[in-house]
């Protein structure tokens, strides 16, 4: 070995040993900064008196008290509960039903599945725009049904502060129920055919076979579907903006639109940060136990 070669060999050895870490570390650093440091910054700001500009003077829980004394926040929370509950229920009922029906080895299954799932490829803004037109109080469904002879039919949920949140549910279920169908269909296909055959030999009818044998076997799919839907619901922002704009007034506000309004329209950074922290806490309360059990389950 020549002397000139030694530093090169040493460099190669060094790279061999450390290259994976060298490649991963900038990406990991990006995650530390843009996820963890940013979260820390937002949490810190939520304890300060920041208004239009960040102000680093700590004021304790004042911003949280402010959020919790804003009537609009209560509307947002109430909408979140109503929307999340009905959205999950609607998607689960339709999704599970369609998955079971599609599981009957029918012809055209591929084409039908494609039709059920295509709304998932669309932006919530596109979905919202479409349903805003369909649910339009003068020219939409109302006029259609009146044209069928039901002169007194009225359907103005979109502009009715009491009912507008349900239009968001209607559009949301239309978009996301196919997703649940796909998850459950995959789950049903993973059930051993032998078990189904054995049940049939025992004389169990199709309804009983599904209700007492197959569906209980894929219980984890129920859990993950509900978690995914809850996660989607808490983050829902686009659909509300496109369909109702949070209105009439702020009747269809959700925590996500509340946070956006305070951050970018009213420029009350501290209040916006406090509401964002509460959204994070809610998501974490759902996701952390779920992920923990998932990771533990797959490690076995």
């Amino acid at each position: 070995m020549t002397n000139a070669g030694t530093p090169r060999v040493a460099l190669e050895r060094f790279l061999d040993r450390w290259l994976p870490q060298i490649v991963v570390s900038p990406l990991f650093a990006a995650s530390l900064v843009f996820v963890y440091a940013f979260i820390a910054w937002t949490i810190y700001i939520s304890f300060t008196k920041s208004g239009v500009m960040p102000n680093y003077t700590l004021v304790g829980l004042a911003q949280y008290e402010r959020v919790w004394s804003t009537p609009r926040w209560y509307v947002a929370l109430q909408n979140l509960f109503v929307f999340t509950g009905l959205f999950i229920a609607g998607c689960m009922i339709i999704g599970v039903l369609l998955a079971i029906l599609l599981d009957q080895r029918i012809r055209l299954e591929g084409a039908i599945r494609t039709i059920y799932l295509y709304p998932m490829a669309l932006s919530f803004i596109v979905t919202g725009t479409a349903w805003k037109w369909i649910l339009n109080p003068t020219l939409g469904i109302e006029k259609l049904v009146q044209g069928w002879g039901f002169r007194d039919f009225s359907f103005d949920w979109l502009v009715d502060p009491q009912m507008a949140i349900y239009t968001v549910v209607i559009a949301g279920v239309w978009q996301s129920s196919g997703y649940v169908m796909a998850l459950f269909l995959a789950g049903l296909r993973s059930v051993d055919d032998e078990i189904i055959r054995a049940a049939a030999i025992d004389g169990a009818g199709p309804v009983r076979t599904y209700a007492t044998i197959i569906l209980p076997m894929i219980r984890p799919v129920f859990l993950s579907s509900i978690i995914i839907l809850a996660h989607l619901a808490i983050k829902s922002f686009d659909l509300v903006v496109a369909l109702t704009g949070g209105g009439p007034g702020y009747a269809t506000d959700m925590p996500a639109t509340f946070m956006y309004a305070f951050a970018f329209q009213r420029s009350e950074l501290g209040t916006a940060a406090a509401s964002a922290v509460m959204m994070l806490m809610t998501v974490m309360a759902i996701m952390v136990p779920y992920l923990y059990s998932e990771i533990r389950g797959s490690a076995k």
Binding site: P20, L122, T129, A276
Partner: protein
């Protein structure tokens, strides 16, 4: 496998045939449920405003007119600028192509390094990075807006490329890590013994094997980033808006007569790229969705 042997409804009798007809009727009804909104959009976009006012939601256009489409593409008003969707479609493409390619590439190399060159702490690093996929993005909006402003990227398409790359990384890493975990370590060991290093093994051996995962990741990222609205509306202004924000502005423009046909044409145009990808590569999209089951 023949029809008679599988599924739950197996024996053939009048009752079974009736059940089968019922089954198809229900499936068909749900096809209508999902397709009618799309049909209404298309049909409305082809009508004139007069016909929209006189006709009904589901009536077909008497005279097909493409005026709404050309207006949506080139002259509809997005806020105060009456340029149609065209420039915003380009913004979205300029945003989505680099963001998809960079986040997929970085996710691939990250997943490879974390699984095939397992070093102490690799799993912890993965778990910490994965966390980024679950946060509600509202928690990073404020600091990111300030950071983009600081680097002069606020209100630009480049800023969005950066944001989507950073927050897409957790997810692309998840895709590739799950794939590379299933690849036998023996292949990499043999290549190492042959003297191949970190990058040659990645480019010549691992990437070609990961082709299906690359497709899943590209399609997933394309759909997510194209459809994004939150980052678009929070971090861009006016003429650098992506198409989802522009569409929302067209629809929300409240001056003058409400042109539902233009709204519908604009919505279809904005949804067409992801819809096409879905029709062409649906099975990869579904794989992304089920991998995304962990994320949602």
């Amino acid at each position: 496998m023949s029809q008679a042997q599988s599924g739950i409804v197996r024996r053939q009798g009048p009752r079974q045939i009736a059940l089968r007809i019922l089954l198809f009727a229900v499936l068909g009804l749900f096809c209508l449920y999902y397709l009618i909104p799309l049909a209404v959009m298309i049909s409305t976009s082809l009508k004139s405003l007069d016909e929209i006012r006189t006709g009904s939601l589901i009536s077909l256009p008497h005279e097909i007119s493409l005026d709404a489409w050309s207006k949506a593409w080139s002259s509809a008003c997005v806020g105060v600028r009456c340029t149609g969707l065209e420039p915003y479609m380009w913004n979205s493409f300029l945003m989505v192509v680099p963001a998809v390619l960079i986040s997929t590439f970085l996710g691939a190399i990250n997943g490879y390094a974390l699984t095939k060159w397992r070093f102490p702490g690799a799993n912890v690093i993965f778990a910490l990075m994965l966390f980024g996929a679950f946060i509600p993005f509202q928690i990073v909006l404020l600091p990111m807006a300030r950071t983009l402003g600081y680097f002069g990227l606020a209100g630009s398409v480049y800023g969005l490329v950066f944001v989507h790359t950073v927050y897409g990384l957790a997810f692309t890493t998840l895709f590739f890590r799950n794939f590379f975990v299933s690849v036998s370590d023996g292949i990499v060991q043999a290549a190492k013994i042959d003297g191949a290093g970190f990058f040659p093994i990645f480019f010549k051996l691992m990437l070609p094997m990961a082709l299906p995962t690359i497709v899943v990741s590209v399609i997933w990222q394309f759909t997510q980033i194209w459809n994004d609205f939150l980052f678009g509306i929070a971090f861009t202004v006016g003429d650098s808006n992506p198409v989802t924000v522009a569409l929302n502005n067209i629809v929300a423009t409240s001056t003058g007569v409400k042109e539902y046909n233009v709204d519908m044409a604009a919505a279809i145009i904005a949804g067409l790229p992801t819809l096409l990808v879905y029709v062409l590569a649906g099975s990869y999209f579904v794989r992304g969705l089920s991998a995304g089951a962990v994320k949602g």
